[in-house]
């Protein structure tokens, strides 16, 4: 006979199932799901997903597309002819890989993986201010406080890494919107990003200095027995079952979280692959390696942040140094995911809140200002075409002309790659259904592999 308990024991998300079953009859057709469902249990996508997880590398400050991924020979000519303030690329571009993607010399290592990259040269954002553009990129709106992209994704898909958070963000910036960029707004707080730092730490309360493991286990047994006793006297309270499960999970997390974050477990050649042996690449390399370890365990959405891309001055030196700091780490991550056969279902997204202008900014030929009208992001893996360029800017590189991807298009496309229809991923709040893409957004079908 199938008893309630045996069902609970047979499924990892038992408490959610139970609660739903008990309440479903009562609230059939209700606007919101019963609150006792385990909110992080994996959920089926709307249709077959190309990507199972996302690694989003946010380049804070707005990297110059004109000196990296958007080749503009006309701009160099304009500079040569001293036309207005136009300024050609400070780096040479070369065709790379079999596909011949044009990538500048700023990314020698990443360029070796050109055939995996899908350059989005027609990116666009509505504002040229850091804060608003950053917030819009993360939450889909520069005007209102909304749930972040990662929160929406975990809300939509849950997470398979039951002993790890579903959405983590490593070294996020405290300003430019701060926690709003990985917040959950009106979604339950459990969907917000968990902040980790590459120096270790992040998930709080993972260890206990007072009790040995055996003592703690005994303590938990005591708690669980008390909870079960309570449940047997109050069988109609499925939330108690949830609490029982949360202790088992918490107990496991004490070992699983430090384990996944312990990079010392990686062999030397892997550490070198990510540039952990070199001071100039160690910081971002650490983030990339953490990302791979979490991706392996099934963390759904992982965000990395590289600060310092706001090059109004000293573009050549500063951009070169910035690019170097991420070049080998990203190349290492792509190679590593590939050799583990994970690139195919891991979507990597790279980019900043906007790009940079075609003319010099302050001093002649020294730096560039902000440019939201046209810039580049790129994707790799996760069901996008490799060695492919989608969209373009005008000859001078400051205005997206074809294959334009605005904020909502970007988000719609990411959700699509994860198997979700952005118009169906909704949450009822304040009397209406909200979605990440508000009321517009089209999937950039042209990039799908």
């Amino acid at each position: 006979m199938t008893t309630r308990r045996s069902i609970l024991q047979s499924t990892s998300t038992g408490f959610g199932w139970l609660a739903f079953n008990a309440l479903h009859q009562q609230w059939a057709g209700a606007a919101a799901p019963p609150k006792t469902i385990n909110p992080l249990a994996p959920k089926a996508p709307h249709f077959a997903a190309r990507a199972k997880r996302v690694i989003f590398m946010f380049m804070q400050g707005g990297p110059s597309h004109l000196d990296t991924f958007d080749y503009k020979p006309e701009l160099a000519k304009a500079e040569a002819g001293k036309v207005q303030k136009y300024m050609g690329s400070v780096f040479e571009f070369k065709p790379r890989g079999k596909s011949g993607l044009m990538i500048s010399e700023a990314f020698p290592e990443l360029a070796k993986h050109a055939d995996e990259l899908c350059l989005l040269n027609g990116m666009q954002t509505r504002t040229n201010a850091h804060q608003m553009a950053t917030v819009a990129l993360h939450i889909g709106s520069e005007t209102f406080v909304r749930p972040s992209m990662g929160a929406w994704i975990v809300y939509g898909l849950g997470t398979v890494a039951e002993d790890l958070p579903g959405f983590v963000t490593i070294n996020p910036a405290a300003d430019n919107g701060g926690a709003m960029n990985y917040g959950s707004a009106f979604l339950p707080a459990t969907f917000q990003g968990t902040r980790l730092s590459s120096g270790g730490g992040g998930v709080p309360d993972l260890s206990n200095e007072r009790l040995s493991d055996a003592q703690q286990r005994k303590q938990i047994e005591f708690i669980q027995k008390a909870n079960r006793r309570l449940l047997s006297g109050d069988p109609g309270n499925p939330e108690i079952e949830g609490i029982i499960q949360s202790y088992e999970l918490a107990y496991k997390m004490q070992t699983s979280v430090p384990e996944v974050l312990d990079l010392d477990k990686e062999p030397q050649h892997i550490r070198e692959l990510y540039g952990l042996d070199d001071g100039s690449t160690e910081r971002f390399g650490t983030q990339c390696l953490m990302a791979r370890r979490m991706a392996e365990k099934g963390v759904r959405f992982i965000q990395l942040t590289s600060p310092g891309w706001d090059h109004h001055n000293g573009l050549r030196d500063n951009l070169a140094r910035q690019c170097t700091s991420i070049d080998k780490p990203i190349a290492g991550l792509i190679a590593d995911l590939k050799q583990r056969d994970m690139l195919k279902d891991t979507l990597i997204i790279w980019g900043g809140e906007f790009g940079r202008g075609s003319g010099y900014d302050n001093e002649p030929y020294n730096g560039r200002g902000h440019n939201g009208g046209g810039y580049t992001m790129w994707m790799a893996g996760g069901g996008v075409k490799g060695g492919f360029t989608y969209g373009s800017t005008n000859d001078l590189g400051d205005k997206a002309e074809t294959g334009i991807i605005g904020t909502h298009e970007l988000h719609a496309t990411v959700l699509h790659l994860l198997g979700m229809n952005h118009e169906r991923l909704t949450y009822r709040y304040a009397g209406r259904n909200f979605r990440l893409t508000d009321v517009s957004g089209e999937v950039a079908k042209g990039i799908l592999a």
Partner: protein, 641 residues
């Protein structure tokens, strides 16, 4: 003494005689717009069960489905439930003992308990937090330039004090909308009611918005949202860019309401980028200077006091190693005052620069609702708005209020979507009961304490919470039992401190936020109190986008959002908190020490009851500190049953 109730009632009678041309709406009129009619108290078969008319409505509905209420909760369960509900803290062992041993009948004995708890100042601290959830309270503006609200705490304390004084709810609402315009009999009263308008200034707006008209319209939109949703359960801000998709609310209605706030001046103590007058984003000239004489005009300070009050004051100090604190001026508060009276042109598609004819401000035409009193040419219309909302013939204000009170006591509202009484909201499970409560609330002089008392003395409140998955109404829609309620962050943390003897009921003094909203040591906005400080949780600063991790772990609502019903999640980080958090460990040690030597004393201290012999045996496996910590983590501790 000025009697708002009487005047508003008179105004209502007067203005009902004027009629506006009816707007044409495509959408149906929701039930909640209809006038409240006094429902008949239904007859019940089991006439001995009810204690109150509330019970008759509940029982009649159960009997219709041939269901019966469960038995009453034990006195032990009941006093713990009542104590958490009213004070956010557990009863003391003496209180438990007195109640359990009281030889008076249940009705009498429990009434004594409820009355004592309602008189406690802890009541205001507990219930103010419910209100702050609804009005998106925070100590900083959030968004891109996260400048602190240096005087939000004054509004917070005003809410606590108003609830403790049992300020009539219609007055409570009116002061938050038009406290500066309401008559007052003395200057202290005048100052008090102006502080109430701080509610309208707490919105999360983008101080760096370069388009000033956009900024103003965003601020107005926030005010419309909070006034309509928090106070009336209406989602009017949906009609900013187009007619409402589901409600009979047109874009014209929205801009008629917008005109009222558009004609007001919002003074949050912060300046928009394009409206700076030389103090930076934190700007005392954008505060209200409270009057010291009754007939003094209300406005920003004419002369700034000495000390540190603005962003520039902080910047001028360079980069010292220690925290720079803002100085307090006892005359400052956040608030809203009258601005230049003008109607607000309709923004086509929400575009601030594509405008069409402005509807007359205050001229709302939503069906069934009473019309708003005519707004005088030189007034913003906030006074009229406050009058309109708090008149007894307004069908929403009282319904929404009693439903919120009901939710906090019974776990779920009669209308489950407490912030949405529109088409998209859920229907009331007991519509007649809701109206009965609304009328009783108004007839009781809008007394929140009286209403709570009536609800708690009902038999329905006193039911046991034991569930039954086989019950035809397992989800308890019909209230045949009480819902067990998870302790929220505030009662949980306050109780830990209380049991360890560490909790103080003092209010922290001075401004407990620092920073200017920018970067760096003196830029980053942060609270100056941590979760380890001994204050009740309501007094810890709420910095938007920098809320302590513990808050989010225990479902504290995002402080930019209007959230009348908190999420209840069960996630592993909560268990980790009880298992490993250093503060819990330390408090558990102190609780163990205080409780005395044995297991029984520990059970009495933490759970307020005697352990069973089996529990005593099991507990023998653990040292007392470990035992305390274990009990704190049990579901029994984390719920009020």
């Amino acid at each position: 003494m000025y009697d708002l109730h009487a005047i508003l009632f008179f105004a209502a009678l007067f203005c009902c005689t004027s009629t506006f041309a009816a707007e044409k709406y495509e959408n149906d009129t929701p039930w909640s717009y209809q006038r409240i009619l006094r429902p008949m108290v239904p007859a019940v078969k089991d006439a001995a069960w009810p204690k109150d008319d509330i019970d008759r409505f509940i029982l009649a509905r159960l009997e219709k489905d041939s269901l019966h209420p469960i038995s009453d909760a034990s006195r032990l369960t009941l006093i713990r439930r009542a104590s958490f509900d009213l004070r956010g803290l557990p009863p003391t062992q003496e209180e438990v003992e007195r109640f359990v041993r009281d030889s008076a009948p249940d009705d009498v004995a429990f009434a004594k308990v409820v009355d004592a708890f309602l008189q406690s100042e802890r009541f205001g601290e507990r219930w103010a937090r419910h209100w702050l959830d609804v009005v998106r309270y925070a100590d900083s503006v959030g968004r891109v330039w996260n400048a602190p609200f240096t005087y939000a705490w004054k509004y917070r304390d005003w809410v606590i004090d108003s609830l403790n004084a049992d300020k009539a709810y219609n007055r409570f609402v009116a002061e938050q909308i038009a406290g500066d315009l309401l008559p007052a009999s003395n200057v202290l009263q005048k100052r008090d009611q102006i502080v109430g308008t701080g509610m309208l200034a707490l919105g999360s707006v983008n101080l760096q918005e370069g388009d000033y008209e956009q900024f103003v319209l965003d601020q107005v939109d926030d005010q419309i949202d909070v006034v309509s949703r928090a106070l009336m359960g209406l989602t009017l801000s949906c009609a900013r860019c187009h007619d409402h998709k589901t409600e009979p609310v047109s874009q014209k209605d929205y801009y008629a309401l917008a005109g009222i706030f558009y004609s007001s001046r919002t003074l949050p103590g912060q300046a928009n980028r394009s409206d700076m007058n030389g103090s930076g984003y934190v700007d005392p000239e954008m505060l209200v200077d409270l009057p010291t004489k009754l007939n003094e005009a209300v406005g920003p300070p004419a002369k700034l006091p000495e000390g540190i009050h603005s962003m520039d004051d902080i910047r001028a100090l360079g980069n010292p190693k220690t925290t720079i604190r803002y100085d307090v001026d006892p005359h400052f508060c956040m608030g809203v005052i009258e601005g230049e009276a003008k109607d607000c042109e309709l923004a086509v598609g929400g575009d601030p620069h594509d405008r069409k004819a402005a509807p007359e401000r205050g001229r709302l035409g939503m069906p069934a609702l009473p019309p708003l009193p005519k707004v005088p040419a030189k007034s913003s219309g906030r006074l009229e708005l406050a009058q309109w909302m708090t008149q007894p013939t307004h069908p929403l204000t009282s319904r929404v209020a009693v439903n919120r009170l009901w939710q906090h006591l019974f776990g779920e509202g009669i209308v489950r979507t407490v912030d949405d009484f529109g088409i998209t909201g859920s229907d009331p499970t007991h519509p007649e009961l809701l109206d009965h409560l609304a009328i009783r609330f108004m007839e009781g002089g809008w007394s929140v304490k009286k209403m709570i008392r009536a609800m708690m003395l009902s038999r329905t409140y006193r039911l046991a919470s034991t569930g039954n998955p086989e019950h035809p109404d397992a989800g308890n829609k019909l209230r045949w039992r009480m819902n067990a309620k998870r302790l929220e962050l505030e009662p949980l943390r306050d109780t830990l401190l209380q049991l360890a003897g560490k909790l103080t009921f003092d209010r922290p003094e001075g401004i407990q936020v620092a920073g200017t909203g920018g970067k760096g040591r003196h830029g980053l906005t942060r609270g100056l109190l941590s979760i380890e400080d001994p204050y009740r949780t309501i007094y810890l600063p709420v910095v938007r986008d920098n809320v302590p991790e513990l808050f989010s772990t225990f479902d504290f609502p995002g402080p930019t959002q209007i959230k009348g019903q908190r999420d209840v999640t069960t996630v592993a980080p909560q268990a980790l908190f009880f298992m490993n958090n250093p503060m819990v460990k330390e408090l558990a040690g102190e609780i163990a020490e205080k409780a005395g030597k044995d297991v029984k004393a520990v059970y009495r201290a933490v759970l307020g009851r005697e352990p069973s012999s089996e529990e005593v045996r099991d507990a023998g496996e653990l040292d007392l500190q470990t035992l305390v910590q274990a009990l704190l983590g049990t579901a029994e501790f984390r719920y009020a049953f």
